[in-house]
């Protein structure tokens, strides 16, 4: 019996490990540059290929709704609840796709209401997020939604920030833990679209804030990352074809914006464990380009909230 069990364990381990190794990770496309410009091209190509073969996993990080809200915080604009997605629509979101996308949308709305200290609205958006999370099957951790905790902290903007980030971290962790990374990617996508929607629609057309325009332009980096992230999970999925098509248009609009990067001095302070990067990215954007982005993103947003 003992021998049989051992044999079984051995086979299980061997085949299982083989299966796991075969399945894990994505191979990355060749895109690296060699540091050495003097070696011949073939050798350089070979090095790049070897390097690319070694890169087992590539992750993409998209700014969260909270981070996006932080970026437009300085603009000092008045609060406008009309631009947020209505909570009355929540019952329309019944598919996994619409629930995940709108969980992200409501998260961006909540980040916006939090910034302007709209307590009652924040509670309402939190309740909506709770409902969608539960319907997506994300178990709520003890505490995150505890009424007492909410009541105690709702007046404190920083505490609310921790509650929001906790909620999204919990959902992301749970979904990825349960092999539902695609759903996690949709939450990020919805949050990003809504945050871009808010920042492009709070702009005053007669006197657009140049700082917000720059922040919108800098999302050029995120568009590429977001498309790569979505394609990783939904490349062949027809239900997302409308979204992909609008993302392609958004990318084309963003391609007209120039972001020119110039490396700068890097200073590392070992005592406080901080590295300061003094590079410079010059942003070349005009309001017509922002309006084009707004128009496409408004369509994207209408598609996901309807």
């Amino acid at each position: 019996m003992f021998f049989r069990l051992n044999k079984l364990a051995l086979i299980t381990f061997a085949v299982g490990t083989g299966f796991f190794l075969a399945c894990s990770g994505d191979k990355k496309d060749t895109r690296g540059k060699s540091d050495n410009g003097n070696i011949n091209e073939n050798l350089q190509q070979k090095n790049i290929q070897e390097y690319a073969n070694q890169v087992k996993t590539i992750f993409y990080n998209i700014p969260s709704p909270v981070e996006m809200a932080e970026l437009t915080q300085k603009a000092n604009l008045t609060y406008n609840s009309d631009i947020l997605n209505s909570l009355d629509k929540i019952d329309q979101y019944t598919s996994t796709k619409s629930m995940a996308l709108n969980l992200g949308v409501y998260g961006a709305d909540l980040s916006y209401t939090r910034l302007y200290d709209q307590i009652q609205e924040s509670i309402n958006y939190l309740s909506a997020i709770r409902k969608l999370s539960e319907e997506l099957g994300v178990p709520q951790e003890e505490g995150a939604f505890a009424l007492s905790r909410l009541e105690e902290n709702i007046n404190n903007r920083d505490s609310l920030l921790f509650i929001i980030t906790d909620l999204y971290a919990n959902a992301d962790l749970y979904l990825k833990e349960n092999e539902r990374s695609g759903t996690a990617a949709l939450i990020i996508t919805g949050g990003w679209i809504e945050a871009l929607y808010i920042s492009t629609n709070i702009l005053d057309d007669d006197n657009p804030n140049p700082e917000i325009m720059e922040r919108i332009a800098e999302q050029k980096f995120s568009v590429d990352n977001l498309i790569a992230l979505l394609k990783k999970h939904y490349k062949e999925n027809e239900s997302l074809s409308d979204i992909f098509s609008l993302f392609d248009q958004l990318k084309q609009s963003y391609d007209k914006i120039e972001l020119i990067y110039k490396p700068g001095k890097v200073i590392t302070d070992e005592e406080i464990r901080l590295t300061s990067i003094n590079s410079k990215t010059q942003v070349y954007v005009n309001f017509d380009q922002i309006k084009e982005i707004r128009e496409i993103n408004n369509k994207l947003r209408a598609l996901i909230i309807s």
Partner: protein, 146 residues
């Protein structure tokens, strides 16, 4: 009948193995890596994978100008000290933790928005062993709220 049960057992154990590894990796990240971000705010996106010795993983992210960030790279003891580098889009090295005693987290301040590549390299074992070592590696990003 016994054979059928045996085959089914093997099938279920094999099916569960990759999921168990992933699940353990996420738990490791939550318990060991996330606390390292404090007082920075976790951006809510988990990047973790089981890597083998000699593997390289990359995370592409955007640092916004005027924002402070913390990068934490944690790994299970079984794969030894993991090296992580920050590179710009021209692949110039901005930071290398092997020059900082393999620190598992480091803070960054960027005065202008730019794309950053976090490259994680799992060292190859020096000992000649039959089994390839593997373990969980997590890359987490936090930012400071102002």
């Amino acid at each position: 009948m016994k054979n059928l049960i045996k085959k089914l057992s093997i099938y279920f154990i094999l099916s569960a193995l990759p999921f168990l590894s992933h699940s353990q990796c996420k738990s490791f990240t939550k318990q060991v890596c996330m606390p390292k971000l404090n007082p920075y705010i976790y951006n809510g996106q988990l990047n973790s994978a089981i890597l083998n010795e000699g593997d390289i993983a990359e995370l592409v992210l955007t640092f916004y100008g005027g924002q402070d960030y913390r990068i934490a790279v944690c790994s299970e003891e079984s794969i030894g000290k993991v090296q992580f580098k920050l590179l710009d889009t021209d692949r110039n090295t901005i930071f290398d933790n092997s020059e900082q005693e393999f620190a598992i987290f480091w803070d960054f301040r960027c005065n202008s928005t730019q794309q950053i590549i976090v490259e994680v390299l799992v060292p190859e074992s020096e000992a000649i062993e039959d089994a390839v070592k593997s373990g969980c590696v997590s890359i987490l990003v936090g930012f400071l709220s102002k």
